[in-house]
Symmetry: C2
Subunit: 500 residues, 2 copies
């Protein structure tokens, strides 16, 4: 008898977050849901991460309505989300009352599996969400953010797994957001947790495919006893995304393991996303093939493009190489945090500041907070001199307690502020939307009635009519006349995309 390997499908969340800048419209996902719902996945990741932000910022779409739609379209599936622990889906710490309300509402609207992580792997930032999920009778998955540093060994990750099990998590996720998880490390960590905590502890493994090695890592994780792996349907896979679901199925053939998925449904899901992907070309990641430089720089691809655009704004594009060398120093000063939202942005921005203005001459308030413990406990020792500078910059002292313990209850104030906004419907969901993104929510509430935009529909062919925002880059579909200077002569040139 083969051991069944469960699969989480990422197409509806992390796949398009990683490949299409989180821009996939709900109406482009909905037609695939009947097949996804019956393909045999253990769960369908479809919410959380950056999707909440993208919904209200770019798509004029109510993220709670999206969740309810998925619940309706995927009646037989476990819906899964990615939750940033005490940060929820925002970029700051929330007090426990807000965490409770958020988890209650997510559960009430249909969420089943909550994958909960903290960017610093600080268990204290995960604990309250885990309790809230379990109180709702839902599945709380505690997450280890995998990273590479002089401090991080397989043993440190096994220890964290053990602590997550002690916390009462229903399962453990080993999450490799930068595709740095090599096969042997995957094997050692999964094996270590199973050995330490018992074979019955359920382990899920999430990898990205950027470096080209992580399907092998999934194989070794499975050999070590992993119960579930994350993949994306092939037409929304690879590059900075994930390993293809169909390749995982084929990989296991004859191995004594089996991913029991319905092949004809996978075929239809693949065809569906293959057909719409070209419409989102403008948002497509420019990482193709594999990027193994990450193993040396340990800087995820998304972080590099962030830093590039910051440098461009300062007309200092030529200093990227210096910034790439500065990132590991800043990371070491901060005690080797994993580089994942929000620590990747914080460390990257500070590295840019250091190069442009001198080391720690200017310090972002976020970096000061990171140094001072306001995001949680760093994995290693922080540099004492930089710590002292951070206290000067921020005019406050370093803390050792859980950051959320410093916060006062804020539901009433947030509720009052949100319900005062034009277009706010007064629901707890709207208050939570405002709580996550107070800068973005007001405009969204005002425009919500216009309905969701489909950014994948080019304006000249758009059936849905909402079209593309003015100024948004769209792929060239129609002939365009250019004046072209060639060898000093001006020519009128008509350019037509081949096969358009």
């Amino acid at each position: 008898m083969n051991k069944i390997i469960d699969v989480t499908e990422l197409a509806l969340r992390d796949a398009h977050q990683s490949l299409l800048a989180t821009r996939l419209a709900l109406e482009d996902m909905a037609p695939a849901c009947a097949d996804i719902d019956r393909a045999g996945y253990w769960s369908v990741e479809c919410w959380g991460g950056a999707t909440f932000d993208a919904c209200i910022r770019f798509l004029n779409e109510d993220p709670w309505e999206r969740l309810r739609t998925f619940r309706r379209l995927l009646p037989n599936s476990r819906l899964q989300m990615l939750l940033r622990g005490q940060n929820l889906l925002g970029y700051r710490h929330y007090e426990d009352g807000i965490v409770d309300r958020f988890v209650d509402k997510a559960a009430e609207n249909g969420m089943d599996v909550f994958r909960i992580f903290d960017a610093l792997n600080d268990i204290r930032n995960i604990r309250h969400s885990v309790g809230a999920v379990r109180r709702n009778g839902k599945h709380a998955q505690g997450t280890i953010c995998y990273t590479v540093s002089p401090l991080h060994t397989s043993e440190t990750f096994v220890e964290m797994g053990e602590r997550l099990v002690e916390l009462g998590c229903d399962s453990i996720c080993l999450k490799d957001m930068a595709a740095l998880l090599r096969p042997q490390a995957a094997y050692d960590i999964v094996k270590g947790i199973k050995t330490r905590c018992g074979e019955g502890v359920r382990i899920h493994v999430h990898t990205h495919s950027t470096t080209g090695v992580t399907l092998v890592s999934l194989m070794k994780a499975i050999e070590a006893g992993a119960d579930c792996v994350d993949t994306a349907i092939s037409s929304l896979s690879l590059g900075p995304g994930h390993n293809p679901t169909e390749s995982l199925v084929a990989m296991l053939d004859g191995s004594g393991y089996e991913a029991r998925l319905n092949k004809s449904r996978l075929q239809r899901i693949k065809d569906h996303f293959a057909a719409l992907r070209p419409r989102y070309q403008a948002f497509m990641s420019n990482i193709h093939g594999v990027d193994t430089d990450i193993f040396d720089s340990q800087i995820p691809g998304g972080m590099i493009s962030n830093m590039e655009s910051q440098l461009k704004q300062q007309k200092a594009e030529n200093r990227l190489a210096e910034v790439l060398l500065e990132v590991p120093r800043v990371r070491e000063d901060a005690g080797f945090p994993p580089l994942v939202t929000p620590s990747s942005q914080i460390v990257g921005t500070q590295a840019v500041f250091n190069v442009l203005m001198g080391r720690y001459k200017v310090m972002s308030s976020e970096f000061a907070d990171l140094m001072l413990g306001y995001y949680g406990k760093a994995p290693g020792e922080r540099d004492p001199a930089v710590l002292a500078l951070a206290e000067q910059h921020a005019h406050k002292k370093a803390i050792v307690q859980r950051p959320a313990d410093l916060l006062q209850p804020e539901w009433e104030a947030l509720s009052a502020a949100a319900t005062a906004l034009a277009g706010c419907n007064g629901s707890a969901e709207d208050v939570l939307t405002y709580a996550m993104f107070p800068q973005v929510a007001p405009a969204f509430f005002t425009s919500r009635a216009l309905g969701p935009k489909n950014l994948g529909a080019a304006p000249d062919v758009a059936p849905s009519g909402t079209g593309v925002e003015p100024g948004a880059a769209v792929p060239l579909r129609t002939p365009v006349a250019y004046d072209v200077k060639l060898n000093g002569h001006s020519h009128r040139v008509l350019v037509t995309p081949v096969g358009a």
Copy 2:
């Protein structure tokens, strides 16, 4: 101590054959050779397969001069070629005297390692080349063509490996030209040969990456004892090509195995090919990402595009689905040959004939020859009715002996015909070129003096600073091919973002 895993770099042959239709110009490969020569590869595949044909058909380049150039540019490397056994680099069987001359000349011009295969896995078609290579004191690698059929089990491939070892091969190659080799099969076959023939038998594994699973297969082959694996530098990898060299290196980190390659040289090789790849966009394979349909159809991607173009010529594009269903029936009728040059073309063309004109109403002479044993012994039983039809069509009887045993010495006749051609330099190399491609060689001899073409040079587009002005907000991240009308004339223009 880690076990060292040897690596064969494919960039100079199979990688551009698979990704760029074998069009890569020698002058675009030469600058990478110094780094390739010192990166630590076990061998550098750089000749044979379709490169000989492509040189004289498309590039106006003397393939023998290419070999001498590589010999000069790669003084520290084992040069490796792919040889089609008794077919050499052509598409018919040659008598043993021609095989001897070809191998002698290849060795004399610098070839070290001869990977020798037969499309039907008929050892009799491999035997003479192996002897010729060994007589020259060079490395003879006997090749198992991996395929999937009701007849083919891991055991059948292990048995073939055993026979190749008995033949005196210096090493065995397990060659997976269609990316069908799943991890467990890779493990079982390599383990089986090592167990049966001894750990000292050297095993190389060649896979394509089309289905996305074969880096895992390389890992399992290595765990089973494989000594050397084939990869391509990342910027010429993936899709219908091969697994990335850098990913292999990273995959093995910490595993007890090690590919001892020089990382900074790999980086420079990668950068070199990354920079020139966009210039070859017009020849780029249109398979992106992964294609796992092959597992069901067992029809390699290249074969499908061949059949598509045949159907298009007959204005019958809409009948591809029928042809795809017909291929496995034709293959079964022919005794389940592996689908690789030339059997893939022969089976594919017959399937097209069957669909368009009725089953075996018309039979290609090549398919009749395949049925009648003129390419060698099929792996399984052939359909008796189709065999009888083949005898009728071809007006000859089926044979059981080695096809080359029916051939008369032909060097003198070929030599006379070749040297009579304008532009033939009278060398044995020129006679062999004529022997391989008698239809193409005459025109090549005439135009040879004009020198090699670089089809990647995109002569219509000036190197930089010209081209399309960024008047529209079009995010060109990758080169795009356009039809451009200029002064009433149509040009195919490749537009590449400056600095991309």
